[in-house]
Symmetry: C2
Subunit: 199 residues, 2 copies
């Protein structure tokens, strides 16, 4: 390093890539974006993007300041099929991860604010969650993709609503109870979405 | 009106009261605010606030740009006791009213954005909904207020989550189906919250 000179450090380059990623995801959605397009926008070599980020999902998580990979919630129900799915575990895992995120800058409220303020952010987030979570949910024998998506959307609606009630509107006892207790209250409802034919 | 002169019309006065109400609700919450305090903040006579607004709830609805009184949703389940409560009707009523609000400036996304951006707005909203809706939900024989609030919070979490999934994240089929269809899918879950002992 030249004495007295200012060299663009790793943090600068990484921040530049994240800023470019925000623009590219907002313009092209999650599905339409590529690491190559982000590199072009950031005026860096594509290899550098790959050096800092382990693929598109990892870059999206950084760009949207998500506190964790939503796929991690699914790990709480690892190996579950629709017939063995534990709603209580899904709720407990989801709220435990968001509980850990509170106090960082990446709170549920800040994620919700970003989605509510910008349709393109919300659209990119929907595509991301579809790619990371919903498309990986095991199907019930014989059901088509539409029915599988219906289950996923309903399960997500209850989880999102719980987080909104706990972290934004802060309604007791949902805002004060332990994740395991809320899992006990809400789990059977998620299982109904996961297992029963909803029509 | 004097020719060429600009007279502060009714719209100006009403707007001034609404602006004052926003400040007062943010500072003191819904429970702690009064029409008198709003009048003082707006530098108008309290009688003028009563002239424009039919009480504190009406003023809050205007100040928060809510598209409707949440009590109206309850009218869709009028006369229901916990044992006769129709979850399908509650879902259909709630989504029908928000559907009608889309296209106006008072969308679900704009309400969510206001709550996610400001803890004092979210706190005032919680107090308002408690006052208008939750406190009026019939109790199950023998249950205490805490248990009644738990039911209310869980029912609200599912309704809020559905609206978030329909209007912000826009996940099909929750974003595309008719309110009556979603009512059919989700109704039994609301009824479980309303009727069964959740512990």
């Amino acid at each position: 390093m030249s004495p007295g000179g200012r060299r663009p450090g790793n943090a600068d380059t990484k921040a530049k890539i994240i800023e470019a990623a925000r623009r590219v995801f907002a313009a092209h959605g999650y599905d339409g974006a590529s690491l190559r397009a982000v590199a072009r926008d950031a005026l860096v070599d594509a290899a550098l993007v790959h050096h800092y980020f382990d693929g598109k999902a990892d870059l999206f998580i950084a760009a949207m300041a998500l506190p964790f990979d939503p796929r991690a919630v699914q790990h709480h129900t690892e190996g579950d099929t629709p017939s063995t799915f534990s709603g209580a575990h899904a709720v407990e895992g989801f709220l435990t991860m968001w509980d850990q995120a509170e106090g960082t800058g990446s709170t549920f409220a800040s994620c919700v604010a970003a989605m509510a303020a910008s349709r393109s952010v919300a659209d990119a987030m929907r595509q991301f969650v579809h790619d990371r979570v919903w498309s990986a949910i095991p199907r019930i024998d014989g059901e088509d993709e539409g029915m599988s998506m219906q289950r996923a959307a309903l399960i997500s609606s209850q989880l999102m609503g719980l987080a909104f009630t706990r972290y934004v509107l802060r309604v007791p006892p949902v805002s004060t109870a332990a994740p395991a207790d809320i899992g006990r209250w809400v789990g059977p409802n998620l299982e109904r979405y996961a297992k029963e034919s909803p029509d």
